[in-house]
């Protein structure tokens, strides 16, 4: 059975940051990812990041991903296992893995779960037609595989993901028919919305998809206005021709390992679904199991990097490896606070308060 001090499952922004932080304290880290490359969702983020200089503002996500990946690959304290899926985590601290059809057991003194989140689905007739894809899927196809998803896309969801992917579609030479948003306002950053508006993409707030149409593949969709009761208003239907519909309707944390580890879980809508209860060291109720990034509550990449770093330091500190932990923790918490302080941080602040059982 293999041994490691800290196993980090998921090598996206949070996992990479956690592994690098723990390794910098001298801990032996095994960084595990099911893909054949490190970086998680960063490899598709062609847009420039926000935040402050500390979170690499102004740098494109792909460049941040490459930098973190290069550093992890060359770090002597980090053992990278790619094409490696974490299968299960047992109460005797054994992590089981599958790597290129080999079954591996690994005893990890500490576990950091940074498995990210997956895309939500939206119920409507014919929502299973080929051509209806998650927004992340469209990003993967375009930005990782270099394949156009189609000719004309209808985007559902005007959060940051919907707005950003719409822009990326235009950059890939794909038309965007419209962005449809159920809320009466645009949820994503105004600058992302302004960008696609001046490029001629309409944003239809208080609208939703009524039905998708097509024989074997998507050919079009009917959208309609929805009322304050979230129900569609008959008579307001509009047919939009499209061969791709992109669902950017939210993410749910990927928490299977946490459930299995016996972590106490709580449903918090604002965080995307069930999340593990954790303290401000990012340790769950299962001792020695830490969580960070979208798996701990859907937020975004800048916070994932800071949170990941904190989880890495916490895991290392719990092994006696991080003498200046209190200072590092204070710095990380301050950065997270700064990122979450403005009006756009309201959702995550409310979500975290609900998780802690505080009245908001």
């Amino acid at each position: 059975m293999r041994q490691t001090e800290i196993a980090v499952v998921g090598a996206g922004p949070a996992g990479l940051s956690a592994a690098l932080a723990a390794a910098s304290c001298g801990a032996r880290v095994t960084l595990i990812d099911r893909e054949d490359r490190l970086g998680g969702q960063l490899v598709k983020q062609t847009h420039k990041f926000f935040g402050s200089q500390k979170q690499r503002a102004g740098i494109r996500g792909i460049a941040i991903g490459t930098d973190l990946a290069d550093r992890a690959m060359s770090d002597p304290n980090i053992d990278v296992m790619l094409e490696c899926t974490a299968l299960a985590y047992y109460s005797d601290n054994v992590l089981t893995l599958e790597q290129r059809e080999k079954y591996i057991k690994m005893k990890a003194q500490r576990l950091v779960v940074t498995t990210g989140a997956s895309e939500k689905m939206l119920p409507f007739p014919n929502n299973d037609l080929p051509g209806i894809y998650g927004a992340g899927a469209v990003q993967t196809l375009m930005n990782v595989h270099g394949v156009k998803p189609g000719q004309r896309v209808l985007m559902i969801g005007a959060g940051n993901i919907g707005l950003i992917v719409s822009y990326q579609l235009l950059q890939a030479g794909v038309g965007v028919a419209a962005v449809v948003e159920a809320l009466p306002r645009i949820g994503g950053y105004a600058v992302h919305a302004s960008k696609i508006r001046r490029m001629g993409v309409p944003i239809l707030t208080s609208h939703s998809v009524k039905e998708a149409h097509g024989k074997d593949v998507l050919e079009g969709a009917t959208v309609w206005r929805i009322g304050p009761d979230w129900q569609g208003i008959p008579g307001t239907e509009k047919y939009i021709e499209c061969d791709v519909m992109c669902l950017a309707v939210g993410l749910s944390p990927l928490t299977e390992l946490l459930w299995q580890a016996g972590c106490e879980m709580k449903y918090v809508g604002a965080l995307g679904g069930h999340v593990a209860i954790h303290d401000d060291n990012l340790e769950t109720t299962a001792k020695g199991v830490f969580v960070a990034g979208d798996a701990s509550g859907v937020e975004e990449a800048s916070s994932a990097m800071v949170g990941g770093r904190l989880a890495g330091y916490s895991a290392a500190a719990s092994l006696g490896r991080c003498p200046d932990f209190q200072q590092k923790k204070a710095e990380a918490l301050e950065q997270l606070s700064e990122l979450r302080a403005g009006p756009t941080g309201e959702k995550i602040r409310k979500g975290l308060m609900a998780l802690r059982g505080e009245a908001s």
């Binding site: 102004g58 009466p184 306002r185 645009i186 302004s194 508006r197 944003i203 707030t205 403005g342």
Partner: protein
């Protein structure tokens, strides 16, 4: 309302414009950034010190246009692609706008382009004066576009006319 449409209102935009006197002096940066989000790279990008330091990164940028020389570094730096340089003194009948352009193919110098306003409506034709590219594809190219002066507060996007059906 910006939150509903994605398009800044006239009230929002009025706050970004300098005095008539300043506008007649030369190019100036227009920060169409109206929402408090955690973001501050414009401060470190400006080499003229025209962007004031941020007390809180969620604050809106504060710009001293007397220090601004219209160089356009902020245009390339803004992650939201929300900054533009307007030069109403470019010529007697033309204004010049420097705007971020992250599409291929790039326009050639002198090429005629369609000019769009914030609603995505074509308002006039323009002429690309130059495209300033950064050191690699990670940088945001900035296109300098000249067009009839009366549209200087409207033109914020261009599209190539070649290959248009």
């Amino acid at each position: 309302m910006l939150e509903q449409t994605g398009v800044p209102t006239n009230e929002d935009l009025a706050r970004t414009l300098p005095t008539e006197e300043r506008r007649k002096k030369g190019p100036y940066a227009v920060f169409e950034c109206f929402q408090k989000i955690p973001c501050d790279p414009c401060y470190s990008a400006c080499r003229q010190g025209a962007v004031k330091p941020f007390a809180d990164i969620n604050h809106l940028p504060e710009v001293d246009l007397d220090k601004c020389n219209g160089c356009g570094t902020c245009v390339a730096a803004c992650p939201g692609l929300a900054v533009f340089v307007v030069d109403e003194t470019f010529s007697d009948d033309e204004a010049l706008v420097k705007l971020p352009y992250e599409f291929v193919p790039f326009p050639e110098n002198g090429e005629s382009v369609a000019c769009f306003n914030r609603d995505g409506l074509e308002v006039c034709s323009g002429r690309v004066v130059r495209v300033v590219k950064g050191k690699d594809k990670m940088a945001t190219p900035v296109a300098w576009v000249a067009f009839p002066k009366e549209y200087c507060h409207d033109v914020r996007h261009i599209a190539l006319k070649r290959g248009m059906a």
